[in-house]
Amino acid sequence: MSTYTDVTKGGGQSRRSDAAEARIALAKRFAGCMFLAFVLALMIGTQEGTQDDFGYAFRKSVFAPRIGIFALIGVAVFLAVTFWPRIVPYLSRAGVRPLAAGALTVVVSFTLLNWTDSTDLNNGKFGGLRPAAAQTGGIDPVARLFFGSAFSLTPWLLLLIVVALVAAAIRFEDSSTLGYVGGGLAIVFGIWAQYAQSAVRSFLDYPDHSTGAGVALLGFVTIGVSGIVVARSHGKADSGGFFQRVYDWRPGMPLVALGAVVGLVGLFSAAWFSPTDRNAGIGLTSTMFHGTGLSGFSAAYLAWLAYVLFFATLILAGAASYLRHHLLGWVAAGLGVVSLLVTLYVMHDFSGLAAQSKFDGATGAWDNLGTGGWMLCGALTVLAGAGYLVARHEQVEVPDAAPGVSSDAALAAGSKLGPALLVVIIASALFFPPTATQFWQTVLVTEIGIYVLLAIGLNVVVGWAGLLDLGFIAFYAIGSYTTAYLTGRLPVKPPSFLELTPLAAIPFAIVICLVAGVLLGAPTLRLRGDYLAIVTLGFGEIIRVVANNSTPVTNGSRGAFNIPPPEIHIGPLDIKWGDNVLGYWYLLLVFVVIVVLLFNRLEHSRLGRAWAAIREDEVAAQATGINTVRVKLLAFAIGASTSGVAGVYFASQIGSFTPENFILNNSILVVAYVVFGGMGSLPGAMAGAAVLTWLPEFLRDQVPAEDRQMWIGAVILLMMIFRPAGLIPARRRRAELGGLDKKDSSETTAVPAGEGM
């Protein structure tokens, strides 16, 4: 501030001090950036010394050539920060955001993701695969060139070239040629990457679930799209985001593009049939099953029908989106669904046949399938969704502030990208898990899915009603023990007429958790904020300690075991879940979908608004006639019963558990997930739980084991600094944060705050 006053007074003296100050600030910034680089160098690398050499890790990190790389990172950060004001104007240009996103995606695929599920190579990542591919003879030279036969930087150079081209197109506004060239090259490079990976894969010959090449393709295509956008927009500002604009222009178009990419990869590059020693694409699969007694329809599908169905759906969906034709949209959606069912049928058919003939140890249908069929299924779902969105587009629009229209509808109309994202999420939830490795399927079922369900439940209590509950896991424990009791796996047996299968225990678990929620809530809900948190924390511990010590009832610290897996026998329906992890995923998906649908309604109902009211201003809510105790109790009970359902699922999926599964740490984790995702936002809580349960498992491959928690902490810290309202903030909560800012400028202070009541 003082510099400004100096300048207004004028005089050479002050101007010189101005420059000096600027120099000092720059020096400080440079020192800061270098320090950051130094810390980063310490973080990434050996963490511990040896017993006789405590400085080992330090020297390994610092007195090594690698420190130079980190110094360069520091300089780069310094330059980026210093020139940030000059970069800012470009950020709003068309195509900048997709360019950044695409480049980042490609970098991630080159550095973090697996390109093969290799057991031979010590590392299935790009960096590990590249030298191997470059050395191995017999690989298609075009593919080999991608991995860099002459010069190992090739893939990075490719990325650099396209990014530079598109960036130049953004910088020099008149040149649309640069944009087209960059964009076109990017798409070619993406296809090249995909082709190179599939060549290596067929050469290496083992089942493949890697995502690296696919993600690289997606990244390159995104860069390509950004190049074309830049070329077409001539430097115009890009207000409202690129995808939003495309979506406004032609709803369904982004989905059609995504469906096209995924479907093409699925049909032409991915493996359809992957027993232990091969990766057969759809063509090879067709040949393999030739003359094995595969039904004519399936044979025809593998030979040509798959292509026909996919391209017909693609063209129809594309035309419907482009022409915004409702009827075409319905037709595309219908054809997409039919093709999807046909694809599933054929996959079942040929994998079942392989299992029947005991081919390669397959135990049943759906075994040994590659990723291709599932990718095609996902693509068809996305295309059908695009068609459906086009068909329903007009109904989605709600004019602002139209009398008689529910305000929630108006709020929902605010984010038009929502439905498209929903389609992508549905497609990936249905068809991504089968393509994942056994490890990730297990993570999905035992970590991600369960915590998503728990986060949805806790979101009711913490997010909507604003009550901090640190004992949430207790209800999960109650649900689990209820299941163990009702299936007769506790020392105390239920009366014989009550002995049930796990799924039939759900209603009981719900009721018991409701009662437990009310019992806990009734005496404690008079407390506010911190006090309530402490009491609920105590409750959580009480439940765990009681479970641990009442051995005659709960089997004490040995817990319950041999809980049967869930099964359904209703009329013709006869399903028994066994060892296949994937089955549990779909069961969980059903739970999550039901709970989300119900809670979504609840959020926009009378009770949801009452929760928002007590969260925002309890005094005003009381004066408006809301029975705050009752409303809070309902939040507690509903949250608790969701947790109970999760407990039932957990108990029957895992088969055995001990009180140690219900420690305080888990309660705190769920709270962290909800806060991270966005308090009070249903998609936010789910995303928060999914990301924070996925991240530790993902980091397993990326960083030393003892550093994992630190990286997770860093992610959470960054998140709280840059997105304090959470990953996907609730509309209401966002308004609250915005509202606070606005209030300062209004005349609220006209009345002393203390006199308000």
Binding site: A401, G404, A623
Partner: protein, 294 residues
């Protein structure tokens, strides 16, 4: 000015109410009767106990002595308001606004009013989750009623805006709409004109009269703005230091020496008995502030 439109039925019967916070006497032996259909204004200098009276009437504070009988809607049997919870008193037909606005800032204007309307509805969580017909009907009814109320306070065009984004005067009116949503027999307005400009004050006066005349709601009003009070109130009660010092029509109050003394600190004998010099200066500044507002 206007004659009380009272029917002679008593809405609030406050007898010998004393409210103490430790050694501080906030209300001292207050007697007050409010009649159905009237606009009764409570005035008095800052710290006179007006808001304490409101809070005692709505169950926020529990007076140590005295009785408060309430029969908010026509035909109600009088019940004691002392010891009842705020939301129970609200359900008995008493709605209120707050001196510093207490809306639900992250809900839209419409939703704010709906919260009020829906406290009179029945559908529970299960009906909401399953979207049962009754719940849908109630949802529709509450939206319609909320819109009707927003229209009556002139906020229909801003129904879908967040409460926090409304202008100050609009927020005041929204609070009134939310209070009316609970379908009250009595509405307690705590300084509804504070911080509003002259045009908004005129609108507000019209709104209060309209609520009183068209909806038949009895209005209990705390207000510092004398012009507004004198133009809308049928009857006034003057509090000073927790005691009622005068009661009557606007004309009577304007001439009442005790009131004049309390407000202006004139050197009449009563004035010197009632108030010390320090307080007189305080009241003076208070009055200045009030005039400044007008």
């Amino acid at each position: 000015m206007s004659t009380p439109a009272s029917t002679g039925e008593v809405v609030y019967d406050v007898r010998n109410v004393t409210l103490r916070f430790g050694g501080v006497v906030s209300l001292n032996d207050v007697n007050l009767q409010m009649f159905r259909g009237e606009i009764l204004a409570v005035i008095g200098p800052n710290g006179a106990g007006k808001t304490s009276l409101f809070n005692s009437l709505t169950g926020v504070y529990t007076p140590q002595e005295g009785t408060i009988m309430l029969a908010a809607r026509a035909g109600d049997v009088p019940v004691s308001a002392i010891g009842k919870k705020t939301h129970v008193i609200n359900h008995l037909g008493v709605a209120r606004t707050f001196q510093n606005i207490r809306l639900f800032p992250a809900l839209t204007a419409l939703e704010n009013v709906k919260v009020g309307v829906e406290t009179r509805m029945k559908s529970g969580p299960i009906a909401s989750m399953l979207g049962l017909p009754r719940q849908r009907r109630e949802e529709r009814e509450s939206t319609e009623r909320a819109f009707e109320l927003l229209r009556s306070v002139g906020l229909a065009a801003r129904a879908n805006e967040l409460a926090s984004s409304l202008a100050y005067g609009e927020q005041r009116r929204l609070e009134i709409a939310r209070a009316l949503g609970t379908d009250p027999g009595v509405i307690l307005l705590d300084e509804p004109a504070a911080g509003t400009n002259p045009a908004e004050k005129r609108e507000l006066a019209a709104l209060i009269q309209q609520i009183n005349a068209e909806r038949g709601v009895s209005v209990l009003l705390i207000e510092h703005d004398m012009k507004l009070v004198m133009s809308v109130a049928h009857r006034l009660v003057v509090l000073n230091f927790g005691q009622k010092i005068a009661e009557g029509s606007p004309e009577q109050i304007q001439k009442d020496p005790a009131v004049v003394a309390a407000y202006l600190g004139t050197t009449t004998e009563e004035a010197s008995e009632l108030v010390g010099t320090a307080s007189v200066t305080k009241i003076d500044t208070d009055l200045d502030l009030t005039e400044g507002d007008v």
